[in-house]
Point group: C2
Chain length 302, copies 2
């Protein structure tokens, strides 16, 4: 299962009661963060999730409201006694941007590993997370992310018995490793059923509603999408600044056949995003207006 | 008169209910900020003071908790429609540090002017503020600041009449400019009494309690001083990390004969700084434990 927390829901600038849009997940003892605007470390602390377990930080793009909190966060992680490396993933320029910001966090007790995304689509497997990145359409290079937790097939006891494999090997095969028994090598597929549906979380901000989102968000259990403007009359503004309205986000949710939509990244001018919820629900029923520290545990199907 | 607001009172890292230590003043339509850690723009917004009027930002030193909020703040000031330059003052390295941080705020609608302090003591006059900077003793180069509002002497009507100066010149002389009347030049001193006591605000963080503070805080109306640790038993820690205890700050207040002391820059481990107030008051009676957005208007003597 995957714990998901929308740490903040604000776009552009942090507000007294609305932190900047950022997402944190927990899976199998490993924490992953997407974006890290000014104040993100405070909302992580409010949520009570671990700094020390942050293994991966993904960036959608490098506007200040998505990365300004990085140096402070790194210093705080450093104070949490972490020694293991942290992997940073983001569009081209990542190392240069982080180097600039680290002028105030030059010494850290852990290494930073950089993965700069260059292609339209990339996929990484780290700490049990399958991370898919794909291009969005903003006024700078920007990527959306899928966080997938794969689920292997059921362990077939009958098959293992049939092959005469001793029980001491069962767990090894279940963990995905090969075993050698009686001079013959067995791989996990010999005792596992077909892969089962895993968990799929999709996170898209900042962008216009493009085909890539429809494609990559397909069948997501949870689709977290920007909705900078609630009011459909602001579609011209959304067009100009390369953002989305609630209506556009909800339309994407329908097209991608997702299970649930959380709207986020609200304009500071959108004082009560909840008042615009029905703009989304009339298009896609299972729409929710995100709020700071809204959390959910996504589970494997029974 | 000078409005003073202690925007935050935390040291090291921002906490959910304790922003990082920063000071804002307002005088004659001009705002001055000392230090700008992560989240400073949020507490300014909570206080409701203007972003657009920030003319000067002073930095004590470049640890993350004192400057991490700068790029976000500059972006927000940019969104406030400011076009006039902003003067930044700080220890050597200012331009390099700000250049690094501006990797995420490369385009601003106003110019930044840099003043790098090189000497033990420097004094600047900007927008009606007299700003004195003097070296403290921290584990990096660090400066304390005095913000002085000078007050000229009383206008002596009798003197002006005696000199036969027409009333149209009175206001000009009061504003500090010379006038020529009947071929003779008069400077303000010819119609003004001796300078009167102005307003003096002293701000010292981060530092050990050094002689410079005692010297430059002398007779301050308000002395805002770091008190990283409430408990006197932490004096060894204060020594190691180059900070102060409440007792040390209060002792400085006595030595410098200030009028009032506000303690700030509390360690995250100091959960209830107020519980340690009497450690300070038993040494210096007019001690107060700072809290976020504690404000006061310092007035000229009647």
């Amino acid at each position: 299962m995957l714990d998901v927390c929308l740490l903040g829901t604000g776009g552009m600038m942090p507000l007294p009661n609305r932190w900047l849009t950022s997402l944190m997940t927990r899976y199998n003892g490993s924490n992953l963060l997407i974006d890290c605007g000014e104040g993100t470390q405070i909302t992580i602390r409010q949520q009570g999730w671990s700094f020390k377990s942050i293994d991966i930080i993904c960036f959608t793009h490098y506007h200040g409201d998505h990365i300004g909190g990085l140096p402070g966060l790194l210093l705080t992680i450093g104070n949490s006694d972490r020694k293991e490396p942290i992997t940073l993933i983001g569009p081209k320029g990542l190392e240069r941007i982080v180097k600039g910001l680290r002028v105030i966090a030059p010494e850290l007790p852990f290494e930073l590993k950089f993965i700069e995304i260059k292609d339209e689509y990339s996929c990484f497997n780290i700490k049990g997370y399958e991370i898919e990145a794909y291009k969005l359409n903003h006024n700078v290079i920007c990527y959306g992310y899928n966080i997938n937790i794969k689920r292997q097939g059921k362990f077939l006891v009958e098959k293992a018995k049939e092959l005469d494999l001793p029980m001491k090997y069962w767990n090894i095969l279940q963990k995905g490793e090969n075993v050698i028994h009686d001079g013959k090598e067995y791989d996990p597929s010999s005792v596992l059923g077909p892969p089962r549906k895993g968990i799929k979380l999709t996170y898209c901000t900042d962008s216009r509603p493009v085909k890539n989102i429809e494609t990559y968000a397909r069948n997501a259990d949870l689709f977290i999408c920007e909705g900078m403007y609630g009011d459909e009359e602001k579609v011209n503004k959304a067009n100009e600044y390369k953002h989305m309205t609630f209506e556009e986000a909800a339309t994407l949710a329908v097209k991608a056949k997702v299970n649930e939509l959380w709207l986020t990244h609200f304009s500071p001018s959108l004082v009560r995003p909840k008042d615009s919820l029905q703009v989304a629900t009339k298009i896609f029923k299972n729409s929710k207006v995100g709020k700071d520290r809204m959390a959910k545990t996504l589970k494997f199907d029974e």
